[in-house]
Symmetry: none
Subunit: 235 residues, 3 copies
C-alpha cells in the first residue's frame, strides 16, 4: 500500500464558519476575523527538507471513560510527536481545570473533568505521511482545548511552538519556511510563535512578512487567548 | 516537522518567585535566596560531548488514580533515564510517607498518599533532544517531592547525582562541565553533588568555582533539606 | 547526559548498623558480627573481564496491590538477570509463606501475604552500568526476604549463587575474582557459595582465602539462616 503524499493544505481553508453571531442577530457573512475551524481543529506549521507546510490537527471524543481519561493518536506520528501529544494533554487538562474552577456552575464542572472523563482521538492528516518533532506542541494543546471547551479556533490563526509541561512555549526551527507555509494557507493572517523566535522573524525580508501579524508568546495561556473564538458552539 | 535543538538554558531563569512571604507581610522583592521555580520543577545539569548544560525537570499531576499511582515520562528519555524516573518515584514516595507520618492531620495523610493516588507526568524539555543516563536521579526526585508537597524548589540551586533506592547519592561524571553549566544558569549560586565528587571539585581552578557554594551530600534527605523552599504555595 | 561508570563498592560499607540491641540494653558499639545493611539490601558479587566487584541489591515497596503483587526492576539488567529476579520473587514468596504458616498471629499472616499484597521495586546500582547473568539469584532472594520480614541482612556477609525455583543453589563462575571482590568490601568476612563451588575455593591460594569464612550451601533456606539478622527493625 503506497503512502500518498497528500496535500492537506486546503483541508479547512474554504470552510464556512462553524459558529455564527448569536441567535437573533441579522444573517450574512461573518467578517473573516470571526471565521473559525470546526471545534477540535487547530492549524500548525510543519517544516521539512521539502519546505514548509500547513498541518491541521484534528481531535474528537471517542467515548466516555469516567475518571480514567486517555488519548489515542493517529497520523503516522513519531516518538517525539507522540510525547508532544501527552504533554499537550497534560497542559490542556490543567488549563481547563484552572479556567473552570473560577466558575461554579455545573457546566464548568463538566468542562473541568472533560479530559478525565473521555477517551480522545487526535489525528494529524494526511494519515500516510510520517510526522515527528516537538514543534506541534501548542497546536496540539489548542486543538484539545477547543474540543474540551467547544470553543472553535479562529481560522485566521496559524501557530508553531514546543510546549513544556508547565505551559511554557519554546522556540522552533525553520521559521522562514513556516511563515511562508502560513502565507500559503487561505485566510491566515496571524501567526503565533515563541518569543524566542522573535529575532528570526525580524530578520525575514518584508515580502515574506507583509500582511501578516505576529504574536510572540511565553505561555500557553497567551496562545489560548489569541486563538480561541470565545463563543461556545450550539451543540 | 523538524526537531529543533532548542536551548532551554533560560527556561525558568528569569522567573518571578512562585511563592512569596506569608500574607500580611510587607510587599517588595524577595531576596534571591527565596526565589523559587514553579512547584514541580527542579534544575539538573547535563553533560555531553558538546559540554555541560542546565536541564530543567518538570512534573505535573495528570489525574486521580486512587491506590494505583503511576508515572508517565516524556522528553525523549533513554532506558537508563527512564529507570532513574522509576527510582526517583520510589524514593520520593517513601520520603513523603516518612515525613508525613510524623504529623497527624488529614492534609499530611493526603500528602503521604499523593503518589499512590495520582498519575504523574514528568517531562524534560526540550522534547526533541534525546537524553539518557543516571545522573539526573536527585533532580527527578526533588521535582517529584516538590509536586507532592507543593513546596517549590529554590531557583538558586542546581544539582546532579545518581540516586539509589535507599536514597543514597552516587557520584556523577563530567563535574567540570556541569559546574560550568550551573554558572551559565542565571541566578544559580549553589550546587548539590555527591560527597564522592568532592575531590573533583577541589581540583577545579578557582575561576570556575568562584562565587558558587557547593553542598556535598550522602543522602536524598540532605538534598531535600537544601533544595526545597519550606513554604507551601497557596493553591 | 553521560553515563558514569560509578564505583559502588563502598556504597554501604561504612554504614552504621540499622538495627541495634533490644531497647533497654546498655549502649555502645555493636560487635561487627551484628552490623547490618538497611532492610531490603543484600551484597552480591559480580564478575566481568575487568575482575570481580561487590554489587549491592536494593529493594523497597512501591505500593499496596492487594492480591496481585508484582515486582519492577531497574539498574540496566539484562534478560537473564530479569528472569533471576522473577525466580527470586517466587522463591522468597514461598519461603516466607512456609516460615509464617508455623505461627498463628496476624503479623505473621501479613508477612505471609507480603509479596501478594505489594508492588516491589528492586534496583541494582549503579543505574547506568549494564548487568546480566544468573549468579545473583540468592542475593536477589535474600534482599527480598529481608524486605518482607523487615529483618536486615548482616553486613559481614557476601554471597553469589544461582537459584532454582525449588530453592536449590547452583554454582557460579569466576570464583577467584568474586572472592577477591568480597575481600575488597569493607567489613565482609563471610562468603556464601554453592556447595558445588567448594572445589574451586579449596584450590585458591591461602593469601586470598585468609581471614574469610566460607559457607557452602545446597538450598536457599541455608542462605536465609546464615544471612538474615534475626531481629526485626523497629519501624
Amino acid at each position: 500500500i503506497g503512502q500518498p503524499e497528500q496535500r492537506t493544505t486546503r483541508l479547512y481553508s474554504h470552510e464556512q464558519p462553524a459558529t455564527g453571531p448569536s441567535r437573533g442577530s441579522p444573517g450574512g457573512t461573518l467578517p473573516s476575523a470571526n471565521r473559525t475551524f470546526p471545534v477540535g481543529v487547530a492549524l500548525g506549521l510543519a517544516w521539512s527538507a521539502m519546505g514548509g507546510e500547513p498541518v491541521y490537527v484534528e481531535s474528537a471524543t471517542r467515548r466516555k471513560q469516567s475518571g480514567q481519561g486517555s488519548i489515542v493518536c493517529t497520523g503516522s506520528l513519531g516518538e517525539v510527536m507522540r510525547e508532544s501529544v501527552q504533554i499537550a494533554h497534560t497542559v490542556a487538562k490543567r488549563y481547563i481545570r484552572q479556567y473552570s474552577s473560577s466558575k461554579q456552575d455545573s457546566a464548568s464542572e463538566e468542562a473541568a473533568n472533560f479530559f478525565e472523563d473521555h477517551e480522545i482521538h487526535l489525528h494529524v492528516p494526511a494519515g500516510g505521511t510520517p510526522k515527528d518533532g516537538s514543534s506541534g506542541g501548542i497546536t496540539l494543546a489548542t486543538a484539545l482545548l477547543s474540543l474540551a471547551t467547544q470553543c472553535p479556533v479562529l481560522s485566521q490563526v496559524a501557530m508553531s511552538g514546543e510546549l513544556t509541561i508547565t505551559g511554557k512555549v519554546l522556540p522552533i526551527r525553520g521559521v522562514k519556511e513556516k511563515v511562508m507555509a502560513a502565507r500559503s494557507a487561505v485566510g491566515v493572517d496571524q501567526i503565533i510563535l515563541s518569543r524566542h523566535n522573535q529575532g528570526q522573524v525580524t530578520e525575514l525580508p518584508s515580502y515574506i512578512t507583509q500582511g501578516l501579524t505576529f504574536h510572540f508568546v511565553d505561555t500557553f495561556e497567551e496562545v489560548a487567548a489569541l486563538a480561541l473564538y470565545k463563543q461556545k458552539t450550539d451543540r
